[in-house]
Every structure is written in C-alpha cells, then in structure tokens.
C-alpha cells in the first residue's frame, strides 16, 4: 500500500497512471494491442507529437503559439510545390524548412523585439500564413509529381515507418535539450521570472526568438511528413492543431504560467490524446459522443495529475 502510494505520487506518477490506463485499454478494447494498430496509433500522433516538442518550450517560456497549424499546412504546400517546380525533392524539402524557419523567426522577432503579445501575434500570423497557403495554391490540393516523395512517409526502418522514427528522435533531442542544456534551463528560467532571468544574464529576447524559430522549423518537418503521408499539399490541413498540441503539453504537466515542463509528460500527453481517439474509433463510439468522451478524458487526466501533485504537497 505504502509502496503503491509512493509509486503513484512519485516523480514518475503520471507515467505510472498512464501505464495503468494503457493496460486497461489493452484489455478492454479488442484489437487495440495489435502490431498494426500500434503502428497506426503512433503514425496518427506524428504531427501533433512533433509539434508538441517545441510547443513545450514555447509554453515553458510563458509564450503561446497559435500559428503551428498554419505553418504545417503552408510548409507542406511549399514542399510539394517547390519539388514539383524544381523537379528535385531535396530542393522542395529545403524550401519548406526555410519557409517554416522564416515564419517562426518573424513570430519571434515580433514578440521579442516589438513586445507584442504572443497570442495576438501568432493569431495574426496564423491567419496570414493560412492565407498564403491558400493563395499560393488557389485553395486547391497540389499533387506530388515525383513518387519518391511518398517514400518519406512509407519507407520503414526495422519495420517501423520513418515518420515514427523522426518523432522519436525529436522526442529524445528535445528531452535532452530541456533537461541537459543551458538552452533548456534558460527556457524554464524565462518562464519562471523573465525579468529576474534577464538580470541574471539570460538573453531573454534572443531565447524567445530562437524558441519560435525552432518551432517554425519543427513545424516544417511535421508539414513535410504530413504532405508525404497524404501525398499532396493541402492548404486546409492541420486546422486546430494548435489547440491539440497545447492540450497535449498541458496534460503532460507543462505549466501555462511558465517555468515547468517535462518531455516524458508531453509524450504521455500526446499518447493520451492519440489513444483516446484510437480507442473510441475501435469501440465504434458515435461521432457526437466522441466530443463528450474527449472532453471528459481531458478533464479526468488533468484532475488525476492534480490530485497527485496535491498529494505530493507540491501545490
């Protein structure tokens, strides 16, 4: 009993709760724990998982990014269109990464240097970038000429599709950066107290610009993979991604008041959202009831984590 309590309330409590929930779903939802379904599940969370990595940094530094969905759609379009125009996939990829990075950089500069509220700035760029995606394609999906592009998403390594590998690598990289690098710790410091961090020699403006720029770059990676998976650039893709990514982060214990974040938490958050969706479809829950269930799961997950932290005396 005491052991159980220690386990649940300990550092890794969220993980333990998650493992229990996962086991429950595996038992009660038929054909959930098959290899095919697991691969499908992981593939379905690739976009949100990748974007959540950098969203975590953004939230931890007390900022907000609503433009991620638009950037994903836009860079997907750019990848496809530049590949088609140049005949080279590499050129397409570079163009997409460059565009994503640029949009992120602009976000960062406006927020850090012009001191405009991040919510409004990214709400504005969200619209502008979506507009660009629509304008550049005249609102239509753009097909990929070179079938080699599909291979990005279809190719496998050790039986696991490349997008999943990329997501896992990004999880590791950003987990390392958060916990083991000056950049990561400074991000948390900025979130905790921006003014004190500045006086302690942290380049707050520079950090914020970097965070948004990397966010843009990572969104471009997600955009490219998405375009490859759906074999076309679609200007309407990834709407609402921002709220999903933020939810995943908050579920994973990232504080919106800044200063608190953990990669394991975010991964768990991403998986909770993915599993909920997956299990509901496996259980054939009617679309309208899925809204209810999704809402309840969100509440329940945060509530559980809350009970845990309170028991821990953290708050």
């Amino acid at each position: 009993m005491a052991f159980l309590k220690r386990l649940l309330l300990g550092e890794q409590g969220l993980l333990v709760i998650f493992v229990i929930a996962f086991a429950a779903v595996s038992i009660f939802v038929p054909s959930f724990i098959t290899e095919r379904n697991m691969l499908g599940l992981f593939q379905s969370v690739v976009t949100i998982g990748i974007v959540a990595c950098t969203m975590m940094f953004c939230l931890a530094s007390r900022d907000f990014d609503l433009s991620v969905g638009s950037i994903v759609a836009f860079t997907g379009m750019v990848a496809v269109m530049a590949s088609n125009a140049s005949g080279s996939i590499i050129v397409g990829l570079i163009a997409a990464l460059a565009c994503g990075t640029f949009v992120g950089f602009v976000n960062g500069v406006i927020i850090a240097k012009l001191k405009i509220n991040a919510l409004i700035t990214t709400l504005a760029t969200m619209q502008i970038v979506r507009g660009l995606a629509l304008i550049s394609s005249d609102g239509r999906a753009v097909g990929i000429n070179d079938p080699g592009f599909y291979q990005l998403a279809l190719s496998r390594f050790l039986g696991i599709p490349t997008p999943i590998w990329i997501m896992v690598i990004l999880f590791c990289v950003f987990g390392f950066v958060l916990n083991r690098s000056v950049f990561g710790r400074n991000t948390l410091a900025i979130g905790g107290n921006p003014e004190a961090s500045r006086l302690a020699g942290v380049n707050v403006d520079g950090m914020r610009i970097w965070i948004f720029t990397i966010q843009g770059l990572v969104c471009a990676v997600a955009g490219i993979l998405l375009a490859s998976r759906i074999t076309s650039g679609q200007p309407n893709a990834a709407t609402g991604l921002e709220l999903s990514a933020i939810s995943a982060c908050v579920l994973g214990g990232v504080s919106l008041a800044g200063g608190r974040a953990a990669m394991v938490g975010v991964i768990v958050g991403v998986l909770i959202l993915g599993i909920a969706e997956n299990a509901m479809n496996l259980l054939n829950i009617q679309a309208f009831y899925q809204y209810l269930v999704r809402g309840l799961i969100l509440l329940l997950a945060v509530l559980l984590d809350n009970v845990r932290s309170t028991g821990l005396g953290r708050k």
Binding site: S31, G40, Q43, L226, I230, Q234, N236, T239, A287
Partner: protein, 306 residues
C-alpha cells in the same frame, strides 16, 4: 445599364475548391454581361445575416446563396426581403422550420442523397466487375456526422450498396475529427487494423479528401490497389492528382459534380431576373457523373470544366 447591376454570391465554405470554382464561373458570367459580382464567404448563420446586410448596403439587387444550413431558410428569406434583394439558392435548398423546402425561392442544385447513390452504384458495379464476394468485402464509411450534407451523401451510398446486395454488417464507420485528409487517414487506419482479416475493401465519404484518407490508410497498412475501391465526390484537384499518378491507386473514381452550371447559370439567371424581370425556373436539378482514371478528361470536358 448592366454596369449598375450588382449581384451577390454568398457561399458557405469559401476555402473549398468547389466554391472557388462556382465563384470562378459566376465571374465569367459577370464579365460576359458586364454586371458586378460581389463574392462573400459566410461560414455560419450569423455571417450569412451580415453578408445580406452588407449586400443591401452596397446597393446590390439580388444574390445567390449556398447556405451553411438549410434551416436558415426563413431567416434568409426575411433578411433578403428586408433588404429588397432577389434571392436564389444553389447547392443546398432552403427549408422551413418544419423541414419542407421553401418553394418560393428558385433553386439550382443536386441532391446529396442522389450523389451518394451514384457513388454506391459505382462501387457495387466495380465489386461485381472484379468478381469479389460481397459478403467478404469491407466498406469504410468515412463519416463527418456534424455536417448534414455529409450524412446524406454517405447515406445515399449505403442505400445503393445495400440495394446491390452488400451486407450492412460489413460497413464500418470511420468518423473524421475534422474534414481533412489526415483526419480521414487516421480514422480509416483504425478500421483497417481492427478488421485485419478482410482482404477486399471499398471506401466512400463526404468528398474526395475523405476517401483519399482511406486510400492512404490502405497503402500504409499494405493493401494493394487492386484490392481497394475508393470512390470520392467532387472531382477537383485532389482527385485529379490521384488520377495523374503514374500507377493506379486505390482511388478508383470520383463522382464529378459540375460547378460550372451552378456558378455560371445561376449568376446568369439572377442577372436576367434583375435586368429583364425574367424569373428563373423554380427548381433545376443537375447531376453528377462518374469519372475514372481513364475517363476523367472526357468527363470534365463534357461538363464544361477546363
């Protein structure tokens, strides 16, 4: 005096290629006749109301609307009257509170149920042609029940599939969280994995993008194109891109609905009504046409697209 004539064209989803095309063809009519066309996107009931006010304020004489919801009927009719605007509907027909169509408003459209039936028939025919055993074929219903049109379309497909002897128990629901390809892909993947033993699959849904998602899902789980029949609705670029691919995919065909008549003719009719007092026909129904990999070029030509 054509230059004084101003006609509005209000659509529910301005980002959708379908409505872009309608607008494009309406623009051609405007150019031919020399009147002004005002294009407004109105995603919900509230936006429609302000769009009509806006048109009234601009001094338009009439407008064509594809409403976000048919139940908005009485409100739109009242608002149009209040602003002294002539009113025609396209695609979706306005209904009264009790659900009966508002006959007084001229309409050009296509029944969602009918398009769906065309999809179902096309799939059933192809199943027979490929010699599959209906009882062992799985069907993915990519659904988006939040949208009444989507419900009607897939309902139509199910009706004609069942009529052709397709067992209802083999139809599996893949609810999209959003109307884009990725959401359909994720939902369809789950269905395919849940029924890993089924060899032959068919898929239908709200539009081309939804069916495309199912096709992509079949590819990721390793179902060969010859074992998959997906039939979409729309026939815009998403579908054409699929047909242009060097090798055939599971995206078998699409029911093309022509935005040309819907855009061009309605605009012309409205112009005639405003300029010459010639009332348009109360109801014009257009039809969709099935296009396949080999036939889509001719079909598009015959419908006047391109």
């Amino acid at each position: 005096h054509a230059a004084d004539i101003k006609i509005g064209f209000v659509v529910k989803q301005p980002e959708e290629p379908w409505f872009q095309d309608e607008w494009k063809f309406a623009d051609i009519a405007a150019k031919e006749k020399g009147f002004t066309l005002v294009k407004i996107g109105a995603e919900d009931g509230e936006k429609v109301q302000s769009a009509i006010d806006n048109l009234g304020a601009q001094g338009a004489q009439g407008f064509i609307v594809c409403t976000p919801d048919v139940k908005l009927g009485p409100g739109i009719v009242a608002k149009a009257e209040a602003n002294g605007l002539k009113l025609m509907t396209v695609d979706d027909r306005l209904v009264n509170a009790d659900g009966t169509p508002i006959e007084s408003v001229p309409h050009m459209g296509i029944s969602a149920l009918k398009i769906g039936e065309a999809v179902g028939t096309a799939i059933a025919d192809e199943i027979k042609k490929r010699g599959w055993d209906m009882a062992s074929v799985g069907a993915i219903r990519v659904s988006y029940d939040q949208l009444p049109t989507a419900v009607d379309r897939v309902q139509g497909a199910i009706t004609s599939l069942k009529a052709a002897g397709f067992p209802e128990a083999n139809i599996f629901d893949a609810p999209q969280a959003k109307t884009d390809t990725e959401a359909a892909l994720n939902a369809a993947t789950v269905v395919l994995n849940k029924h890993a033993d089924v060899k032959h699959w068919v898929a239908f849904g709200l539009n081309d993008e939804a069916v495309l998602g199912a096709v992509r899902a079949s590819e990721t789980v390793g179902i060969a194109p010859e074992n998959f029949i997906g039939v979409g609705i729309g026939g815009a670029d998403s579908a054409i891109n699929e047909f242009k691919k060097p090798a055939a995919t599971g995206f078998f065909g699409t029911v093309i609905i022509s935005p040309k008549r819907h855009g061009y003719e309605t605009a012309l009719n409205m112009y005639d009504w405003v300029a010459n007092g010639k009332e348009p026909p109360a109801l014009t129904l257009t039809s969709g046409e099935l296009a396949l990999r080999d036939t889509y070029v001719q079909v598009r030509k015959s419908l006047g697209i391109e």
